[in-house]
């Protein structure tokens, strides 16, 4: 099963390689990873999407906790939480599909962040399902490339699952 794990880590030299090294060294897979600063500039947040059975996920969270630079590990999958991801999609539609591309972008609350004679670049945020649905709809229109940020997640206040 897939799990979204959120980490608070010391914002220190080498911390990213300690975490990625843990995953590669022990054969766990990383589906996505995103890193950013938190309200405290000495602390970074990492969101890692990984998969495995219960025993593997238990090991992953324990192993992460054991790393000296890791302050806190939360398996978001066990909490009520909000997940978001952003994607930038560059489409090169045929003349007759252009209107359809714009319509789809609008339905998904996307923004056109760049356009040229032949291409549109669309920015969309949402949960994974939404992003995948968008990509599927645009695929026949001629996607040239897309770039995804990887997931970030935050717990909801006050409710327990």
């Amino acid at each position: 099963m897939r799990h979204t794990i959120s980490l608070l880590v010391e914002n220190r030299f080498g911390v990213l390689s300690r975490i990625s090294g843990l995953f590669s060294g022990r054969g766990y897979n990383i589906e996505s990873l995103s890193v950013g600063e938190t309200i405290d500039p000495e602390i970074s947040n990492m969101t890692i999407v990984t998969s495995g059975d219960d025993q593997i996920i238990e090991q992953i969270t324990k192993q992460l906790n054991k790393l000296i630079d890791v302050i806190k590990v939360v398996d978001m999958t066990e909490l009520d939480h909000v997940e978001r991801e952003m994607v930038l999609i560059k489409v090169a539609p045929r003349q007759e599909d252009k209107a359809e591309v714009l319509r789809i972008a609008e339905i998904f609350r996307g923004r056109i962040v760049d356009s040229s004679q032949r291409t549109y670049t669309i920015e969309v945020t949402g949960d994974e399902k939404k992003i995948e649905a968008l990509i599927e709809l645009l695929r026949p229109m001629g996607i040239k490339e897309f770039v995804r940020t990887g997931k970030i997640a935050i717990a909801r206040e006050g409710v327990k699952k």
């Binding site: 390689s17 090294g21 090991q59 324990k62 906790n65 054991k66 000296i68 630079d69 890791v70």
Partner: protein
């Protein structure tokens, strides 16, 4: 007061109580070596290879419980430490390794003798640092000693760029505060009570004690638990000495080359109490068939050890000594069982197994059996020597036939299985215990991996003894080839073996040799009497194999024994 980085380094080591540093010099670390030249408090032991320095520091640490300290130069000096660091890491041994580094300005430029040792050592250290600024140096060193010696111990490396050792800063000595590092020492009381009730209910309980018992200093508490509740104890390779090997409740070592009765007891047990051990595959054999009838209580300071390999019914994270102290108290005060009654049948069964298949070998008076040498060493030292080993058959025979009654007398590379460990480790132990008898039980292959340390032993006048069980083969690998590869001895015959007596003499040590069983005892006696470094070359039966043996991946009660080869063949087929 302003001090140079090198002065700060030395001051920190003194405050940490360091007396001995094992090392090897080179360009970028000279600022520190220059200060050590006339320092009165700290002695540098110059080894002949950086790997030797790390193993020596490791032997020092295992035999004393204090952290071992290493000092080497950048580039090749640093990379040569990796095997030693990985060895210590696998066995949770506290080390602080200082490596020189090129000046900070040059880092990343592929400068002369630059190696990214922080990157290289990351997966085999508990933690590592690059000291970038002299003003941080004392804090880093203090944190390094703290991390290495607390929680589950392990090696820590500090990379010291040359300019950091040369520049000046004020000396500070801040308290260690690492918000993200808080090992759990106290076990959960509710879990401990659960464990106590399970122990009371069980009929066929068995303790498996590992290296964690020794690291936490919990041998006394373990003995109390076993004696009080009448539970037999088996000790893993790393746990030998955590419980007296001569005790009536001792079952010796379990696993691949463990005793018949330990493995039988595991498979029949209804409750395993695993203490400071991590269910290595050499202990469990085929994991699905391991201890099929047992509930498992697992006590370990490292939460990742628990439920990594086997299912656990009662997990207790904490320091072994403290957890056992509480557990013993609960058992004595709250649960007043008639323990002798409860265990009578179980201990009787174990006694039957002990008689069915005792740990033995077939003695010969024509050719020296390696087990005989180990037995004689045990007899002559009355179990009171520090024993290190190399890796292979020599290591297993030492584990099987030397009985350890006290902790910290047994130095062996368990997790990594590093050939070349034993001799430098013995040197480190002898530095720490100048008046003790320290013996490396070696193979002719392994001893050649760090034989250059003869110079270190001789120069420091260390009376280390090396007993080489010389079989002219990489014996353990040859054994696997004989049993599992149709006797195709691919590259395991060593063909050219140096004359170890002459090698010893060439270095200024003493060399002795025994070629017949009758010579074994006289050679050992003479070797032990001489107050010098001694190599004792025992020309052994090269065909001898380590038994019992559980083939890799088989259940641990599917054991091969010393038998006429035909029978062994059949048995092997059945097991496969």
């Amino acid at each position: 007061m302003k001090m140079t980085g090198a002065e700060i380094f030395l001051e920190c080591l003194k405050r940490e109580g360091v007396k001995h540093v094992f090392g090897y010099p080179g360009g970028v670390i000279l600022n520190i070596f220059d200060l050590l030249y006339d320092d009165k408090d700290i002695q540098l032991i110059l080894t002949r290879h950086e790997q030797g320095a790390v193993h020596a520091a490791d032997g020092y640490a295992r035999s004393t419980g204090k952290p071992g300290v290493v000092l080497v130069t950048s580039g090749p000096g640093a990379t040569n430490t990796v095997t030693g660091i990985a060895t210590a890491s696998m066995d949770s041994i506290p080390l602080v390794v200082f490596s020189g580094q090129v000046p900070t300005m040059l880092i990343g430029n592929d400068a002369f003798q630059e190696a990214d040792i922080v990157g290289i050592s990351r997966p085999c250290t508990k933690y590592n640092f690059l000291a970038k600024d002299t003003k941080d140096l004392s804090r880093i060193i203090r944190e390094a000693f703290h991390i290495a010696t607390t929680g589950r111990p392990g090696p820590v490396l500090i990379d010291l760029p040359k300019d950091v050792t040369a520049s000046k800063a004020d000396f500070v000595w801040p308290e260690v505060k690492i918000r993200s590092y808080n090992p759990t020492y106290e076990g959960n009381k509710w879990m401990i009570t659960q464990a106590a009730h399970m122990i009371a209910k069980s009929k066929k309980a068995l303790i498996i004690a590992g290296g964690g018992v020794i690291l936490s200093g919990g041998s006394k508490e373990l003995k109390e638990l076993a004696e009080f509740t009448e539970i037999p104890v088996t000790m893993t390779l790393m746990g030998l000495g955590s419980f007296p090997g001569t005790h009536r409740l001792s079952l010796g070592m379990p696993g691949m080359h463990g005793t018949y009765y330990a493995n039988k007891a595991i498979q029949e047990s209804d409750l395993l109490i695993a203490i400071g051990m991590r269910f290595d595959d050499r202990v469990t054999g085929k994991i699905d068939a391991f201890a099929p009838n047992a509930k498992i209580i697992h006590i370990d300071i490292d939460p990742t050890s628990i439920r990594k390999n086997v299912r656990v019914d009662v997990p207790i994270v904490g320091d072994v000594k403290r957890v056992l102290t509480v557990l013993n108290k609960v058992l004595k005060e709250d649960i007043k069982e008639q323990w002798t009654e409860v265990r009578r049948a179980w201990l009787k069964q174990i006694d039957i197994w002990k008689h069915e298949r005792p740990m033995t070998y077939t003695y010969s008076d024509e050719v020296i059996k390696p087990q005989f040498v180990v037995e004689k060493i045990y007899e002559l030292t009355k179990g009171d020597a520090i024993i290190s080993t190399e890796v292979g058959q020599n290591q297993m025979w030492a584990a099987q036939f030397y009985k350890f009654d006290k902790p910290r007398m047994w130095l062996t590379s368990g997790g990594l299985g590093t050939m070349g460990y034993g001799f430098p480790a013995a040197i480190g132990a002898q530095i720490a215990h100048p008046n003790k008898l320290v013996i490396d039980i070696a193979g002719d292959g392994s001893i050649q991996m760090n034989i250059q340390e003869l110079a270190t032993a001789v120069i420091n006048k260390l009376p280390v003894k090396v007993a080489i069980l010389n079989n002219h083969y990489l014996g353990m690998v040859r054994q696997w080839q004989e049993l599992f590869f149709n006797e195709r001895y691919s590259y395991t015959h060593l063909e050219v073996i140096p004359d170890f007596v002459k090698v010893a003499e060439a270095y200024g040590a003493v060399g002795l040799r025994a070629t017949k069983p009758s010579e074994v005892e006289p050679v050992l006696k003479e070797g032990f009497k001489i107050k010098k470094t001694v190599f004792m070359d025992f020309i052994c039966d090269w065909k001898e194999k380590v038994f019992p043996m559980v083939p890799a991946g088989a259940p641990i009660d599917h054991m091969l024994f010393e038998e006429k080869s035909e029978k062994a063949e059949k048995k092997l087929k059945a097991v496969k």
